[in-house]
Symmetry: C2
Subunit: 113 residues, 2 copies
Amino acid sequence: MAIPGFADTPAAHYYAVIFSGQRTEGDNGYGKMAELMIKTAKQQPGCLGVEAARNPDGFGVTVAYFTDEPAIAAWRDHIQHRGAQKLGKERWYAHYEVRVARVERSYSGPANR
Amino acid sequence: MAIPGFADTPAAHYYAVIFSGQRTEGDNGYGKMAELMIKTAKQQPGCLGVEAARNPDGFGVTVAYFTDEPAIAAWRDHIQHRGAQKLGKERWYAHYEVRVARVERSYSGPANR
């Protein structure tokens, strides 16, 4: 069952791309692009969903889930995503970390709904 | 170099515990406990850091990084954390997902600082 805000991921194994970033001051077109990129990512083959949150001080964590490494590589090289990455480096992020991880197991709650 | 808000993680491999959760209405003691749990987690042997963000609608993503599986198990079973987990199920979360993942590689930007 898909629950708003959550990625509807299968049983392990699959992959998580963890993007944590500190935004620069001001929007500078970020909000519109972020919304578009999340929408576009979710439409890519092998994308299992995206979960994202941001603090009022501009620190955010976005996790995109993928079936496998080729799906991650395809999204990394997606032409629109490449454009967003460039602007992210130039304008939107003071610092970011990207970690690619293989999900080993998962559980949910409060009652495994 | 430790940058505020970011976990100062080493080269892969290490582990990420990705906790995404939708909060219930109201604080009900959550804020104080969340702060204490992040502080306590960071002091555990094998914990490499914690990154956390929450949207105004109560959806949040917290990622805790650990050296290995035994360190994850020790934090899961930590007595104070067990108490917080119980309250999380009873009071604080409408829904949550926990995913344990092995970090395969990482990079940072905008300029690998």
